[in-house]
């Protein structure tokens, strides 16, 4: 059974189609990522899956429950770590956790154990009795994550879990998310507009652009779909053409000679490179210079949307307008 299933899920705000006939499914204990620029419809999708918004069209099931008709049941098995920091500033970390435990009907005794464990995991044990207003942004986010776990949800929705955090904190949170999945088998559904995050963290990624899913696969397959890695080589003997020799190797998919340099397409660069070098040495060909270029998700994104994700972030036109409208209507 798929733990999350969306069928032509659509949300319209007036004339704006925020999410446009999106279909996908998430396996149990998978880390599934929604990658896309701001305003692409990521949060709107999460809001529909977590019963905060009703879909205009289509349907979705979480844990087998329909998000529209069985919203109470859905709420019982999910957790949400929202994009905004929603922990209560006027309360201590511990009080925030206890409140969350009460809202999810976790018995006090069990709650205390789990809170201690969760706070330990996110490294907030020492600050648990301080008011949250004294916490840094990273600490708040970690508290938010710990809160999302107190009731042991089946599916945890993470909306931009590392937005606005520094690099070190981001890495800590990635490790934490992975650990949770590995140890507690929790299914994670996350949205992000960070390439590295999607790449490092997710088992599968859906690339979403203007409310539509344009590609969905594992990060590796998505990158492979570009045709694999590129190895650039330069030999000591430049007079002969080595294209034929290179093409005869099993690892090589395609060879292009540009000046003295050979541009070779292979599927797994790190593995193919030493093999190619070894083969060349056997033929007494020495290599002067070598370069391995791995395709990035950024290139994948470019391939599928026709725009670079980094470019899109800076665009002042369409995307920002979309985002503003979404912010307004979402409230």
């Amino acid at each position: 059974m798929h733990i999350v299933e969306a069928n032509n899920l659509t949300k319209r705000f007036g004339t704006l189609v925020a999410v446009d006939h999106v279909s996908f499914s998430v396996e149990e204990s998978e880390i599934f990522g929604f990658l896309g620029p701001n305003g692409a419809g990521k949060t709107t999708t999460i809001n529909m899956l977590t019963t905060l918004l009703n879909p205009t069209e289509g349907s979705a099931k979480v844990g087998g429950f329909d998000v529209k008709k069985q919203d109470a049941e859905v709420r019982g098995i999910i957790g949400l770590v929202p994009q905004d920091l929603t922990v209560d500033e006027d309360l201590t970390g511990m009080e925030n956790m206890m409140l969350q435990a009460k809202l999810y009907h976790v018995p006090t005794k069990v709650a205390k154990e789990r809170i201690a464990e969760a706070l330990g995991l996110v490294g907030l044990t020492d600050s648990a009795n301080r008011k949250v207003e004294t916490y840094s942004g990273g600490m708040r986010k970690r508290l938010e994550l710990a809160e999302g776990l107190i009731h042991r949800p089946k599916v945890l929705f993470l909306d931009e879990p590392t937005l606005g955090l520094d690099v070190q904190t981001r890495v800590v949170i990635w490790e934490y998310i992975k650990k949770l999945r590995d140890e507690q088998r929790i299914t994670m559904f996350l949205t992000t507009h960070y390439m590295e995050e999607a790449d490092i963290l997710c088992d599968r990624i859906a690339i979403i652009d203007q409310g539509k899913i344009v590609a969905l696969d594992t990060p590796q397959n998505l990158k492979d779909s570009l045709g694999g890695d590129i190895i650039e080589l330069e030999f000591n003997i430049k007079t002969d053409d080595h294209t034929k020799t290179l093409n005869s190797l099993p690892q090589v998919k395609e060879v292009k000679k540009i000046g003295d340099m050979y541009r070779i397409k292979v599927s797994k660069g790190e593995k193919a490179l030493p093999e190619i070098i070894e083969n060349m040495l056997k033929m007494n060909l020495r290599i002067n210079r070598v370069l391995l270029v791995k395709p990035t998700l950024d290139q994948v994104y470019l391939e599928y949307t026709g725009r670079s994700l980094r470019e899109t972030q800076g665009e002042t036109g369409e995307v920002w307008r979309r985002m503003r409208t979404l912010r307004r209507v979402r409230g």
Binding site: R75, L80, D90, K102, V329, G331
Partner: protein
């Protein structure tokens, strides 16, 4: 439902109980109001005859005039000749009004900061979110009322000679009903509002007229007729009447029928507005 409501109410109460600045302001605000308004605008002292003028009167009138004036003042000001006492009793209703306004504002903050969404994805009844807001507002109102009452007492509030513990609880009951109705009203008004500016504007629009078009600061009888009509529908007036009747409870008599009528209105107001308000607020939490 009850468990969640209690948990959420505790959150709200903790929020201000642990805020030293807010507690300080809660103390200072009534001191300023009572001190400046109650003492400076001593309306009853305006209606008095200076001693030198009194001396010019024939001796048979000399004793009569002050008695007559005092009777007149006492009738206008609901049984007291001391404006401070009159006004302090009215302030108890006003502070309930202000506190109720806060309950409306706090839901807008919760929506803005995303806290509300967190509650909405939790497996709790929607009603508990609304109930917790109202009950925490009522608790805070009663706390403020106790604070103001003590301060007013220290400032020279003159209670009636038969004022007792039952009158004290009667006063609290009237203010409790007022708070229940007003808190629900403001919550219903604020539930769909998304910006702080809007809710402050709406609250001010309702607050000041409600305060002035009542007997909280000034007797209704002295108002123009149209304003009297408004004031006679204003729950603050009824709470004001009841509170004054209890505070000024004298051995000369207690108008049970009048207080009962005030309570009738207050109970009706509290019931209708809390029921309707909570229903509106619940639907206001519905999904988009």
């Amino acid at each position: 439902m009850i468990e969640e409501t209690i948990a959420l109410t505790r959150r709200e109460v903790k929020k201000w109980m642990k805020n030293p600045f807010l507690l300080f302001m809660m103390f200072v605000q009534p001191v300023v109001w009572l001190g400046l308004f109650g003492k400076a605008l001593n309306l009853t002292s305006l209606i008095s005859v200076p001693p030198d003028l009194l001396a010019q009167l024939p001796p048979q009138f000399r004793d009569q005039v002050p008695i007559l004036l005092n009777q007149m003042i006492s009738e206008t000001f609901g049984g007291t000749t001391d404006y401070f006492t009159y006004m302090a009793a009215g302030m108890l209703s006003v502070i309930v009004l202000f506190t109720a306004m806060f309950s409306g504002m706090s839901i807008v903050w919760d929506r803005r900061f995303g806290f509300l969404n967190k509650l909405l994805v939790a497996p709790i009844p929607r009603g508990s979110i609304v109930l917790a807001k109202v009950s925490s507002s009522v608790i805070r109102s009663i706390f403020q009322v106790l604070l103001i009452f003590s301060i007013a007492f220290a400032f020279g509030l003159q209670v009636g000679d038969a004022f007792g513990i039952l009158d004290f609880f009667g006063m609290l009951a009237a203010l409790f009903l007022l708070s229940l109705g007003l808190s629900s009203l403001f919550l219903a008004v604020a539930i769909r509002i998304k910006s702080h500016e809007t809710v402050v504007a709406v609250a001010n629009l309702l607050n000041l007229p409600l305060m002035f078009a009542s007997n909280a600061l000034f007797p209704i009888k002295q108002m123009p007729e149209w304003l009297q009509t408004v004031a006679n529908f204003n729950p603050l007036s009824y709470a004001g009447n009841a509170v004054r009747a209890f505070i000024l409870h004298s051995s000369a008599g207690f108008d049970v029928a009048k207080v009962a009528a005030d309570f009738q209105f207050l109970i009706g107001f509290a019931l209708i507005f809390s029921l309707v308000g909570i229903l509106i607020a619940r639907t206001g939490l519905r999904k988009g």
